[in-house]
Symmetry: C2
Amino acid sequence: MVQQERAARTRHALIQAAAAVFAEEGFVTASLSTISRRAGVSNGALHFHFANKSTLADAVEAEAAEAVRRITESARAWQGDSLQAVVDATHELMGSLARDVVVRGGFELAGDSAHRKEPSLRTQWRHWVEDSLRRAERSGALAEGVSWADSARVIVAATAGFEVLGGDDTSWLSRQNVTRFWEVVLPRLAGGPGLAALVSAGSRPPAAPSAPPPPPAGRPGP
Amino acid sequence: MVQQERAARTRHALIQAAAAVFAEEGFVTASLSTISRRAGVSNGALHFHFANKSTLADAVEAEAAEAVRRITESARAWQGDSLQAVVDATHELMGSLARDVVVRGGFELAGDSAHRKEPSLRTQWRHWVEDSLRRAERSGALAEGVSWADSARVIVAATAGFEVLGGDDTSWLSRQNVTRFWEVVLPRLAGGPGLAALVSAGSRPPAAPSAPPPPPAGRPGP
């Protein structure tokens, strides 16, 4: 049992280190020895958990995808089919990109021509935004003359922009930046009386950094 | 003279080939022999013009920066300090990203952690958008309560999004996509009477692909 816990911790440290190195250097340049050194484990331990760099990248992306899923599900559970769910989720996603190296690394891999795979995190996010805007339209939350598709286009493009610009300058990911984006865009997207109820800064207090998921059970090992 | 022309053509072919390979494979993976083969020239000819991969990437970026400068200067010459200049320039820039491999390659390099340099093309574009929105605000073209900075933020983020999403799916770069973006955003940015005069689809007919610049004089050589 102690051994299992140690293996899970090693795996977690490797994924964190790999995400950071992928985000900084790109998939091609990242070396396994840099990753294992950064994780504080031996090359042998790395190879026990991951056959090669590609499986390590897959693990980073899977963990980042899970984080994005938690963000979007929680926003919908909290705010239903309203535009507020989309506002809240963009704040949470940008906060994650700023704070959580695994989410940052996963998105960097989605934009890396050497490792690009579908469905990427960007596709996962786009589908959720489109689905949410379709729901908002059906529930009468969109302004007259504004379609779900046109609204989704603006939000998907702007959030992809925040993500890539935020790689060089994290102020693009700040709550203030995202709030001002919504202050410009919401009055155009939201139908009459609904608008007054919407909070551009997000309806939830700035989260304490979300607790990391419990370490996976992991195989027994180093 | 014939020799000078040939050298200029070779240099031009190498920059085009390098831009395409950088865009497809990223800076690290791109090999000089792939580039020279694609340009239809010998490795010796490549090395005559460019000392190494970095100088080749610099040349791609310089040529792309020149293309972006032509787009923005021409939009301002045509439309002055109005929002229409920004609308027109976004259409031209996205068209260039779709059609001109050097512009695409230059922006890919701007997002490539292995070659990132400042000022990147993204920074050049952002500065022009910010300057244009400042001018629009001074000339009274912005709606009340909307600042130049907030308007620029939305436009810079969305166009960065179009650029990166367009790398996988060129429909993000289409005139239709950019037009619908402006149809959503312009009514919020433009002040009262000015809005009616603005054309979301751009005030200029879809350009015939712009003529490539005359080949530079180039050093005499292979």
